[in-house]
């Protein structure tokens, strides 16, 4: 029953996204596609984060590093003359896996707030590494000469194609994540979140499961990085600044942790608010901040919590 509700939210979100091209046409506003693509990328990143944060209770404050890894994979490969998006994705995922295995193995020695801070430490190291990497533009970053190619065609130069690719990836990855959290593996991951001592006492060593989840999560987030690089056609270390990591956490919590579709909703909501509030007032951050405080105070559990409560209301009225 609970699962049904979550899937419903996801379905609605996907349908909403699928309607964007039509809407863009109707409103004569092709820029909607650009915004939506960005939302899709962040939705993927937030969903990846939710996998460890929501299901593993591993609050990674360094997930922006994976956005950066994905994005820099595109830059570096393009400089090497490789333009295919498939290869970009592969390279980004491979690099993310390597980074996640190394840092995850160390980070998972710690718990709670210590985990938060050590993941921050690693992402800051990655950040400063790229800041002083002059060949890639250092702190300034660098534009991409073009977007990635798809099977040798430069289809993605067209915003519409990039949008469909991003939506396809989001839906695909959502299905993957959804399967993972419901699987045997996902159960163990959640169990380790609930009570690691008990898990060991029934024969599981949480470390391996948590590390695997962390690696998967990093890989998913790096896919978002590849998309963002293509969407902005520009890559800079700012993508992996700790602010971004914080924003990803905000998105997940805003949508409701441990629900996957909540992470997507959170990303959409955060970017939507930013987009609209900024249009109204120069002090949009003030209103955005008030909104966040209000959500926590009056709607615990974020979007998903709200949906659940509404459902409960409707249910009890019947």
């Amino acid at each position: 029953m609970r699962l049904m509700g979550r899937d419903l939210v996801a379905l609605l979100l996907f349908a909403g996204f699928a309607a964007v091209p039509l809407l863009a046409n109707l409103l004569q506003d092709p820029f909607l596609l650009v915004i939506a693509t960005r939302m899709l990328a962040f939705a993927i990143a937030a969903m990846g984060l939710d996998l460890v944060l929501g299901y593993g209770a591993l609050v990674s404050f360094g997930h922006a590093a994976y956005l950066g890894i994905g994005a820099y994979a595109v830059t570096i490969l393009m400089r090497l003359g490789v333009y295919d998006i498939g290869l970009h994705l592969l390279a980004g995922i491979a690099a993310a896996v390597v980074f996640a295995v190394g840092t995850g193995a160390v980070s998972l020695r710690t718990r709670g707030v210590y985990f938060i801070m050590i993941t921050l430490a690693f992402s800051q190291m990655a950040y400063f590494f790229f800041v002083s990497f002059s060949a890639l533009g250092g702190d300034d970053g660098a534009s991409l000469p073009q977007r990635s190619t798809l099977f040798g065609h430069d289809l993605l130069e067209n915003d519409l194609w990039l949008f469909w690719l991003a939506l396809g990836l989001l839906i695909g990855l959502f299905l993957v994540c959804r399967a993972i959290v419901g699987s045997r593996f996902g159960r163990v991951l959640c169990g380790a979140r609930e009570n690691p001592q008990r898990m060991q006492a029934i024969g599981f060593v949480p470390f391996g499961y948590q590390l695997t989840a962390y690696v998967i999560s990093g890989a998913i987030t790096s896919i978002a990085g590849v998309l963002l690089a293509n969407q902005a056609e520009f890559v800079s270390p700012a993508l992996m600044n700790w602010h971004r990591s914080g924003e990803l956490i905000v998105m997940v919590v805003l949508g409701g942790i441990g629900t996957l579709s909540g992470a997507i909703a959170g990303a959409v909501l955060a970017l939507l608010l930013e987009e609209t509030l900024a249009g109204f007032t120069q002090y949009w951050k003030l209103w955005f901040g008030l909104f966040l405080v209000g959500i926590v105070l009056f709607a615990p559990g974020g979007v998903q919590g709200l949906v659940a409560r509404i459902k409960l209301q409707i249910g009890s009225r019947r």
Binding site: S134, D139, A232
Partner: protein, 364 residues
Amino acid sequence: EGVKVGLMFTLSGPAAALGEQGRNGFQLAVAQMGGLGGMPAEVVVVDDEQKPDVAANKARELVERDNVDFVVGPIFSNILMAIHKPVTDAGKFLISPNAGTSNFAGADCNPNFFVTSYQNDQSHQVMGAYAQSQGFQNVFLMAPNYQAGKDSLNGFKRSYTGGVVAEVFTPLGQLDFSAELAQIAAYQPDAVFTFMPGGMGVNLVKQYRQAGLENIPFLSAFTVDESTLPGQKDAALGFLAGANWAPDIDVPESKAFVAAYEAAYGAVPGSYAMQAYDAAQLIDSALRKVGGDMSNADALRSALEAAEFKSLRGKFAFGNNHYPIQNFYLTQAIKRDDGKYQTSIVQTIFEDYQDTYAADCKMK
């Protein structure tokens, strides 16, 4: 029928003060001229948040959705790198009122890109030339460890050939400079040259004086200016900097501008405001020249290149790379009679100075 201009400045975060100067300078000009080119002007202001990826998107939004005719901005070089492609690719004109990176001055120069400020290295070169002229033998160099910091020290060394006792790169955003100040005290150099924009500059200058180092000349660029002086106050008095303008420059239009700006915004304008003001004048002059007809891009470009407006700096012309050819000065921080602080011109260092990258520019 009017003209639509998108302003992109950093309006949030620690560097917001710079962006606000730029925005205010531009808007002041539009208000004073009653539009641009004799037409009503619609100005769309966006905040780049000092994040390149955000900026790249907002730039696209300005050209694709708001359909602006000109984009004016930004303050920071890394933002410029991010928005240059989306704006120029869309065939719109990008006018930078502050950032002027070397690549766009040289090999990557672009017909739709104009700069009303300077090439980034130039203010540093001014200080190098000054150090050279003073016959300094041991200069201590310090900058934050990022691209602009490295560029600044290189710029300085381009016109300074004396000895360098140490070249120190500090982490970006460093608060406490006591370690570096101790090194300076230990070396006792002839002078210190530094580039510490924003809060870092405020911290450094205060701590420099507190450490009792004020008898070692303090040379800088973008470290002691109207954006940082309200925080530095007396600590900065007498400190030297290189600039293309100062509020007390002997140009009547500039005097009027400074007065008007102070009246409107209650603060002394810095070069960020001045350059944005000039950007508005540049657009205005070009529009007048083409009679408000923006359909012919080539004509509009030629009109921009002509730069027929009274710059607040006095003489102003574009080089082949669309970067200015202008004078550079040595300035000094002073306290005015009314208690406010500003920089003041000490001497002219370069006249009609063009950047060194212009030769690499093959403008089509």
